[in-house]
Structure formats: C-alpha cells, structure tokens
C-alpha cells in the first residue's frame, strides 16, 4: 500500500470528510463493478455499493494495515451481495436473470455475448461467481481472494476453474460461441 493511500486512510480515520469522499471516489469503480456483476441489477448494486462504503468507513479501524485495501473492501461488498442474494431467494419474484437462465424456452439473445455472460454469471453458484469475478475482473491474486473470502487458495482455484468452465459450457450450449 502506498504512502499516499495510507495517509488517505489515516485522514478518514481522523474523521476528515474530504478524505472519505476521496476514498469513495478512489474505490467506487471496483466496488460497484463487483456488486453489479454479482447482483445483475444496477439499482441494487448502487445500494450495496453505498452500504459497503458506509460499513467500510465505519470499520476502517479494523483493517489490517499490512494488507491491501481493495481485497478487504471487496470482501465487504461480496458479503453484502451474498446477503442480498440470500434474501432474494426467499422472494421468488427477485433473481429474474437466474429464472431466465433456467428457462430453456427463452431464445438465445442473438449473439449478445455480454447479456449471455451476465445470465451465465447469474446462474453460477454465488461462491464461484464471486471468486471468478475477483480473479478475472478485479484482477486480485488467488492469495488475496483466499484472504478476502476466508477460504484456502486451493478452494478458490477450484471455484474459479469451475466458474469459468461452467460459463464457457453455457456459452457453447447457447450457441453464442464460435465453434470451429
């Protein structure tokens, strides 16, 4: 962690509002990115992002200064997303992406890979999804993901492998991947 970042966090801990704003702006994109990919819903992702920042800033004194900030922050986001997804499972009207994915009568969305990937992510197990996104989109190392999710590196590797394999299988099954 750079000195500049450490100073920023120290200022946040001192209750300086300008520093908190800077903190939010600095991490806004990865936080929202993970939330959006995990939830597949922009409005929910914004709520989760905002809530995650509030929790992070309030718990900043618990952060281990010897470790990177982003994995710690994304761990909070991941936990909030999982909580929301769990509550969605109790409400059958939520989680439309997963419902659509399970419905084979829906026509493939004409080569729209981005939508297919989103639907594929929605159909993945939450653990696979989080590990896959942290590795491939947030560019965290396996070690950082393991610390963030509180699992052994081997488990994280397995989750990432299975996640991307299932996504590819889905893309192939939907006919949106060029087959040679």
């Amino acid at each position: 962690l750079g000195n500049e970042e450490l100073q920023l966090i120290d200022r946040c801990l001192a209750g300086e509002q300008a520093a908190m704003t800077e903190f939010v702006e600095r991490f806004r994109t990865p936080v929202f990115g993970l939330a959006y990919r995990m939830l597949g819903h922009r409005h929910d992702a914004e709520d989760v992002s905002q809530e995650s920042f509030v929790r992070a800033l309030r718990s900043l004194h618990q952060w281990d200064r010897s470790r990177a900030m982003l994995p710690w922050l994304l761990a909070i986001v991941g936990n909030r997303c999982r909580t929301l997804l769990a509550s969605r499972r109790k409400r059958p009207t939520a989680g439309l992406a997963a419902d659509q994915l399970a419905d084979s009568r829906i026509e493939p969305q004409t080569q729209n890979l981005a939508e297919e990937v989103s639907l594929g992510l929605a159909g993945l197990r939450v653990e696979y999804r989080q590990a896959f996104l942290l590795f491939h989109e947030q560019q965290l190392s396996y070690q950082e993901i393991a610390e963030s999710m509180g699992k052994p590196v081997g488990t994280i590797k397995t989750w990432v492998h299975r996640g991307r394999r299932e996504l590819v299988e889905r893309l192939k099954a939907r006919g949106v991947v060029e087959v040679s």
Binding site: T21, E46, R58, V117, Q139, L167, V168, L171
Partner: protein, 238 residues
Amino acid sequence: MNCGEFERRLQHLLDERKQKLLREDDLPAPMQIHLKDCGECANLVSGYRALLATLSASHPGTSAFRAANVIELTTAAPHRLGRFRSLAPLATAAVLLIATFMVYQYGAPATVKQARIEQPIFVPSYANSPPQEHALTTVASSSRPTLYPSMEINERSLGLMLNLAGLSPVTFSAELLDSHLIERPAWMVQVSDGLKPVTERMTGTLNALLQALPGADAAKEGSQGARYNRYYPCDPLA
C-alpha cells in the same frame, strides 16, 4: 497430448492471466498440435477467449450514488437502539416468559379458591384419624362466631348451645361420665376456650344445619382456606 492434459495446461495459462495466448497461433507448440486434431478443445479455447474478451469489454461502468450520501450515513450518529437491536428478540422472550409466569402464578389460586368455595364448611372425615378422634374439615378462620358452641358444665351434666344467625339456638345436654368428673377432657377445655370441640352427634347436627345455610358465603370469607381441625369425642353425648 490428450484432452485432459490440454485443459490442464489451458487452465494454467488462465491462472497466469495469459489469456492473450489463447489465440491459436500464440499457444505453446504442443497445445497447437493437439488443437489441430481436436475440435472439442478448439471450441473450449474459443469459449474462454470469448468469455474473457466479453468480460473486459462489457464493464458495468460507473455508479450513480453520491459520495456525499456515504459520508452523511457514515458520520451520522448510530441509531440509539442500534447496539441493542440484536437484544430485542431476547428481551421480548424474557417479557413473555415473565408474563406467562405471573399469569400462572396469580391465576392458579383463583381456581383453587373456586374449588374451596364449593367445599362444605363442615365435612366429617374419619380417614387417617386416631380411633378416639374425629377429623372435620372446616374453614379455620370462619367469620361465623355463632358456630362456636357455648358450653356450661355443672356437677354431672354438660350443656352445649349453638347459636346460628337467623335461627333459634340449638341446645344439647348430656350427663358427664364419672371419669370426666375427676379430670376434664381436653375437648371440654377447648370448648371453654372457644376452640369449638364438638361431638359425633353434634357434628351431625351441625352438618344438618349447615346444609340449610349458604355455606359458600362463609368459605369466601375465610382467608386461610380449609384445613383440618381436631375434634374430641364427647362421650356424654354419644
């Protein structure tokens, strides 16, 4: 190289973030050779290539929430009940438990009182009594002092007079046994002291009388409930 080995190497490349090598021409030579003969693995490589390219090209973009909202929420004082909110279910359970206990504790005696009210004031009960004694159930603190018989004893005889409110006095008399002349039995002493000893015959008379009385009223007024009292046999009246 078989398909299993090919995929293992492919996963290793992806773990090393070398997805740029997923183009067929950039793969390591042994993998290229396998791909030429294996359409299934070629499809797999195409799939990974498309997936990762799409992921990087379709970034969710920026969020719309205002940082000021985060600061406001962060610096706002926590809800006064915030730290105790988790205790709310426990507190509710405790209140319910106490309420249940109190209902049980103070509701049960009313039922007992109701049962006691239905009991007759005087009921002979000889069970578990010594042969010479008879036990009677009564309301100990009956507020009917007129039920206490008054007694007069002279040289050879005993007179018992029972005064009942609203009724004419009932008088019993009997000659005393010789033994009672030498030493007065305890029951006599108790009658004299207002402890209402009654005889077998007296008991029957009392019960007959009490059947005609609103006995429940007396029971209601008794504050200590029913209990057993000892009554001594009165030989002269037997």
